[in-house]
């Protein structure tokens, strides 16, 4: 199986290291710059969520990122051993009800957070979450758009 496996300590300063690496790998695989940038963003959002929400910002824990290259898709799995994703969020993710819609009329009502998973849902072709053996797994799939042959 063609792919790569990263592991970082749960510190926010480590997130960019993987995000930048995945962007470069995507370009190497022939994805266009926009798609590579979108995958970089999704990795950044998912790993940040693991650190912030699963591990509550506490360093010293492990976040793993597994990128698998398949002929027709890229599969990215972000795992951690922290707190499970809240049930209502899992349900919204599965129902496809996570939207980025909002009312722009009143700036005081604009949310400062809560967009990470919504962005992932919007940019990736498939997103799923599972919890097993005390581990959270977020699986993101992007169908491949090849701009030149590998």
């Amino acid at each position: 199986m063609k792919g790569v496996h990263f592991a970082i300590d749960s510190e926010l300063s480590n997130v960019s290291l993987i995000a930048v690496a995945v962007n470069r790998i995507c370009l190497h695989l022939g994805l266009d710059g926009t798609s590579a940038g979108e995958l970089e963003l999704c990795i950044s959002e998912a790993a940040t969520n693991s650190i912030r929400h699963s591990y509550h910002g506490e360093p010293g824990h492990r976040v793993t990122i597994e990128l698998t290259v398949q002929p027709d898709q890229l599969r990215i799995e972000v795992s951690d051993n922290g707190t499970p994703m809240p049930a209502d969020q899992v349900r919204q993710l599965q129902d496809g009800k996570l939207s980025l819609e909002f009312q722009v009329d009143d700036r005081s009502l604009l949310a400062e957070g809560g967009r990470g998973l919504r962005i992932i849902r919007r940019l990736m072709d498939e997103v799923s979450y599972s919890r097993a053996d005390n581990s959270n797994r977020l699986i993101m799939i992007k169908h491949r758009v090849i701009s030149h042959s590998e």
């Binding site: 940038g37 963003l41 980025l100 722009v104 005081s108 604009l110 400062e112 990470g116 940019l123």
Partner: protein
């Protein structure tokens, strides 16, 4: 957070001198912009021309900064590169923030 600061008329311009606005730096960015507001600046332009990547935490910091101005202040953006501009479009924040090509254009529009 590192900025290059200047004013054009009453418009305060802060050029962000980091390339990635992520969760790592978002709290510092917001704190610094809120500090500019506290110092009395009511019309601000954040020059993002050196920024190559922004995530939702960075966006959240900008939204929090905008909210710190209340209803009568303005925080506009200039020089957004392709990735940054598409992030604003994706989240529809391009409908919330005024976005300009460069600080000079923003200063004229906001004067």
């Amino acid at each position: 957070m590192r900025f290059e600061e200047r004013t054009i008329g009453k418009v305060f311009i802060a050029k962000v001198l980091v390339s990635r606005i992520t969760a790592e730096v978002a709290p510092a960015l917001k704190a610094d912009i809120v500090e500019f507001v506290t110092q009395g600046h009511r019309t601000l332009v954040l020059d993002l021309s050196e920024v190559t990547f922004i995530d939702s935490s960075g966006l959240g910091a900008l939204i929090g900064s905008l909210k710190s101005l209340g209803d009568d202040g303005e925080l506009a953006l200039s020089g957004a590169r392709e990735m940054v501009a598409s992030m604003f479009k994706l989240t529809r924040m391009n409908e919330v923030f005024r976005m300009y090509k460069n600080p000079e254009e923003a200063a004229v529009a906001l004067a």
